[in-house]
């Protein structure tokens, strides 16, 4: 059964591109353009992985992440952040919160797919441990 990935980004073009790239690699993709729908779809669809833009208007990726982790039904879902300007502070914060990592914009397809593959394999392991 194909893995289900929820992609959240406020830019519709980015969303469309990530979705088509993942679908071409046999993943099932659902999308959300803002925090509200991100949380709703995470609850309703129970994805295997969430790819989340760190910087979104009105709340931002971080608060969506906090919300997901605070909730029993969504806390186990691994999260990969997307960020445009990686720096040590962001990296540390992301790791401290327990996200699975991040990819930087502009990303290339190989990096994205590699990260997704890596996290989904680990994701299963972590879930069992927890």
């Amino acid at each position: 059964m194909p893995k289900k990935i929820l992609v959240v980004d406020d830019e519709p073009n980015i969303l469309r591109l990530i979705a088509s790239r993942l679908e071409a690699n046999n993943y099932e993709v659902i999308t959300a353009l803002d925090g509200f729908y991100a949380i709703k779809k995470a609850h309703d669809e129970n994805p295997d992985l969430i790819i989340l833009d760190i910087r979104m208007p009105a709340g931002g990726g971080m608060s969506v992440f906090d919300n997901l982790r605070a909730n029993n039904s969504t806390m186990m879902i691994p999260v990969i952040f997307i960020t445009a300007h990686p720096n040590e502070d962001i990296w540390r914060e992301v790791m401290k919160k327990g996200a699975e990592g991040f990819i930087t914009k502009p990303f290339n397809a190989d990096d994205l797919l590699a990260k997704v593959k890596e996290v989904l394999k680990e994701g299963i392991g972590n879930a069992e441990q927890k």
């Binding site: 088509s20 071409a24 910087r55 990303f107 290339n108 397809a109």
Partner: protein, 302 residues
Amino acid sequence: MEGKEGFIEDLKRRCDNAEGELKKARDELEAESWGLVKTNEAIKVLYRELDKKNKQLQTLDQLKTNFINTASHELRTPLTVIRESISQILDGIHGRISSRQREFLSICLEDVDRLKRIVDDLLDISKIEAGEFKLKKENTDIIELVKRVIVYFSPKAKGLNLELRVNFCSEALLVCIDRDSMIRVFYNLIGNALKFTAKGYIEISVTQSPEWVECSVIDTGKGIFEDDLLMVFGKFQQFSNAGVSAEKGTGLGLNISKSIVELHGGRIWVESTLKVGSKFTFTLPANSKIAEVKDAEENTSS
């Protein structure tokens, strides 16, 4: 009687004088006291002003950083979209494409990548000029670092039929440098050398004197016009390549290399002869020099 009166007069006079002197002294003291109080008040005012200016400067600094970060995001987002769109079509995800279409889409991709390199370089220059470019210096074996860059360029050099030579003063040499930035400098210099040399060799040398580590990249390329030598480290300087296959540069690489070298406390310069070749040299403070400076600092503070 006269004697006594005279005596009393004299005494009175002296009393008045003394009183006068006392009053003068008291007035003087009062004025100085007043002066000190006023000066004190003024100093407090100046402290307040200084504090205000400090806060203004901090705000400005923060605005500069925010601008650079925002610009970075705003520029990178459309680049991502364009690149990924083209890439997906080329990968056949959205249907078959003709070889003609492939050819032109590849041209697009090449120039998107070039644009991305220019944007990245410009953002770095912005950071450098805003004083935001932070070096993470640590003791690094610079010989090992140079060797890695050379290994990276070996296939390319071979393909161009150019020899890569080295001239190292020792097997290993520890220098206090920012690793990533230094790799960038060597990448820039060696890459340029390969671009502008049609035949012959590129020689990379690392030598040491007590105070400085000197690195140079020599090529047997076409050389640089004397008039252009001054401009070589300027922004957006491009010269026509020797090789057609070379990837087009941003015109900013040498400018950034210069900034990186200077942030390390070193110097960079070029010597060149037309049709013979060029030599780019830069210096870095040797660890011994840094140790000296640190000792001096410790001694003065103790």
